[in-house]
């Protein structure tokens, strides 16, 4: 690791042609979203009494939660077992998790029919419901993520409070509050970090429990009592690839040098976790003898093979190769495949595998559903870009260190 790196705002122009395209997609999503709130879920989606859950649950919520797992895996790596080496990637991962979970919460909010009752689970408890556990854990975890991000906000504004005009008198008191907050947080942060890891473990696995109660409605290729374990393992497996993926994209988009040393070392940890996941997935398949369902050629069996082959087996082999780990391009491809695999797995488990006993109408997501899902993803990227440009999140070479020889002794720290 280059010891002269430090998280800092990225000084770049916000608007680029790519950003404008993202904004258009986001606006299109918001347009359909208005339709959902004015005319109801049925007006915008293809959901019906046979298929009560569609891509908003399968992608926005289930895949969203899984792909935001980088937050808790890097927090565990960087803070719980104190691998200081990885500190540069903790903040970007935290930001992704924070935004990812925020959009998961928004996804739930728009999907539930009575969005104004979203607070009900807080006071109306049902301990036997897996969904209740997911809901409560996600609610608390979102709060924890925002608390974990507060030090970044403090760092940004302490000493830089610069309100103008009528609000100028607020500069001093706000700064005092921030300093107090920062001090309090640095003493108690470990509570939140551990809580974040525990909460993630709980709801990542419970997300897998969700479809178990649907019993024979779920294709046997996916329906297994160890679904919670498979969900947890795959969430852990996708955490680091997601961090690598984002880090490489951000480096490219902002014209920074990719932190290959950190990323390839992070990459070495992917194969073992992915291997354990694959072992459980295949072991489960052979114990329950579900491979017989692969002999029939249909949507489910094809999707299962795609998920396992391109999402687990090929990237597993790639992450074992030194050449892949050291090449930004191949590392990017391998990470993308793992992300693709987990994405498809969640979509499969919640949508493709769902096979209601009475099918009057089949389900394929409507333009409105796809527009809103795509719009949210674009909005997330836009907000991410805005935050890394205005808050110290991404580590960059720090000039002040390299100029002053006084600090060069810090190089021995690693």
């Amino acid at each position: 690791m280059d010891s002269y790196t430090k998280p800092a705002q990225i000084k770049k122009k916000y608007f680029t042609p790519g950003v404008v395209i993202l904004i258009l997609f986001a606006l299109n999503g918001l347009f359909w979203l208005a339709g959902r709130f004015f005319f109801g879920i049925g007006a915008v989606t293809n959901l019906n009494n046979q298929y009560p859950w569609g891509i908003w649950i399968g992608i926005d919520v289930a895949a969203g939660v899984a792909l935001a797992a980088g937050g808790f895996t890097t927090a565990a790596l960087g803070h719980v077992i104190h691998r200081e080496y990885y500190h540069d990637i903790v903040r970007p991962a935290l930001l992704t998790a924070m935004l990812g979970y925020t959009f998961v919460a928004i996804g739930v909010f728009i999907d539930i029919g009575r969005w104004y009752y979203i607070w009900h689970p807080l006071i109306m408890w049902n301990g036997s419901s897996a969904l209740f556990e997911v809901g409560i854990c996600v609610m608390i975890y979102v709060t924890v993520l925002y608390i974990e991000f507060l030090p970044v906000v403090c760092e940004r504004f302490i000493g830089h409070m610069n309100l103008k005009g009528a609000f100028a008198f607020l500069n001093k008191p706000v700064e005092k509050i921030l300093i107090l907050l920062n001090r309090g947080l640095s003493k108690t942060m470990f509570i939140f970090i551990i809580a974040g890891v525990v909460l993630s473990t709980l709801h990542q696995s419970s997300l897998g429990t969700l479809m178990i109660i649907a019993g024979p409605k779920i294709n046997p290729l996916w329906q297994t009592p160890i679904l919670p374990l498979l969900f947890l393992l795959s969430a852990i497996a996708v955490g680091f690839p997601m961090v690598i993926f984002e880090s490489l994209i951000a480096a490219r988009s902002f014209g920074l040098k990719p932190e290959m040393k950190v990323l390839s070392k992070l990459g070495t940890m992917v194969a073992p976790i992915l291997g354990v996941y694959l072992a459980f997935k295949l072991g489960d398949m052979f114990i329950r003898e579900t491979f017989v369902y692969l002999t029939s050629f249909n949507l489910q069996s094809v999707m299962f093979v795609i998920e396992l082959l391109f999402g687990v087996i090929i990237p597993l082999r790639m992450f074992l190769s030194k050449a892949v780990l050291n090449s930004p391009l191949w590392l990017f491809v391998a990470s993308s495949l793992v992300i693709f695999g987990v994405f498809i797995n969640r979509l499969n488990d919640f949508v493709i595998a769902y096979n209601p006993p009475y099918k009057l109408v089949s389900y394929f997501p409507s333009i409105g559903e796809i527009s809103i899902t795509v719009g949210f993803i674009c909005l997330l990227i836009l907000i991410y870009r805005f935050i890394v440009m205005n808050f110290p999140v991404i580590s960059q070479p720090d000039r002040s260190y390299s100029l002053s020889t006084k600090f060069s002794i810090r190089g021995s720290e690693k």
Partner: protein, 298 residues
Amino acid sequence: MGKQNRRDFLKTTAIAGTAISGLSIKSAKAAPKDILSEDRMGVLVDTTVCIGCRNCEWACKTAHDLPTQSLDKYSDRSVFKEMRRPDESALTVVNEYPNPQNSEIPTDVKVQCMHCDHPACVSACIVGAFSKHENGSVVWDTNKCIGCRYCMVACPFQVPAFQFDKALNPQIKKCDFCFERTKVGKLPACVEICPVEALTYGNRNDLVKIARERIRRNPEKYVNHIFGEYEVGGTSWLYLANQDFSKLQFPKLGDKPAPGVSESIQHGIFAYFVPPVSLYALLGGLMWITKRKNESEE
């Protein structure tokens, strides 16, 4: 992170732990009603008796304030061409199937909520909006429901329907076993109107005996299977038929209660909050050890 000492660390960890375990006691109290009374009621549907007059459909809509055509329109048998399912506008429907014993008289099957003894919807509902009452009925509570539709995912009979077309206050619609009527001593609307007594309302235990007796007396007429006696742990509504139930499009289900596996996993993960609290303690310990190791190395 950084400056707290070991004592602070243990203290705060302990407080967090107590706070979490304190919550579990409260959650046990807030659980929804899920009573499995010995005196629960049920309905025995004899599909060999049903004539497909669909008067029950009309009575059900009338009893539940759903828009309906006049009763005489229900004699139209062309609706039987396609299989129909209960939905937000009709809590019960009748479907027609060929009768292998007599092709002149088709078999008609009334479909509605089965009112399971171990309902998946009650177990699944995030806010406990469903409850299983003492009289056997499984009833939905509009004041709790958030409209997540997990009940629809969970139901093994694919019964709950949702008002997808309503922007405000969409409801889950399903047969409530005429909860408001039976409370004041009336029969369920469908049972009351049935002109041929295809539906028998009574104590579920008695109904099982009656059903067994009918099969014993007419073994050539009935298949030896009371659908609902053991399916998904038993249901309040029971069916008799003269052909295999799969031919009448009943789902093939095991004898285990639908929420069984899911609940045992849930209760395993949250057994008195021991697993999450121990994980918290374990991570806390790990954090403290690695931190000390790092410091001593410096």
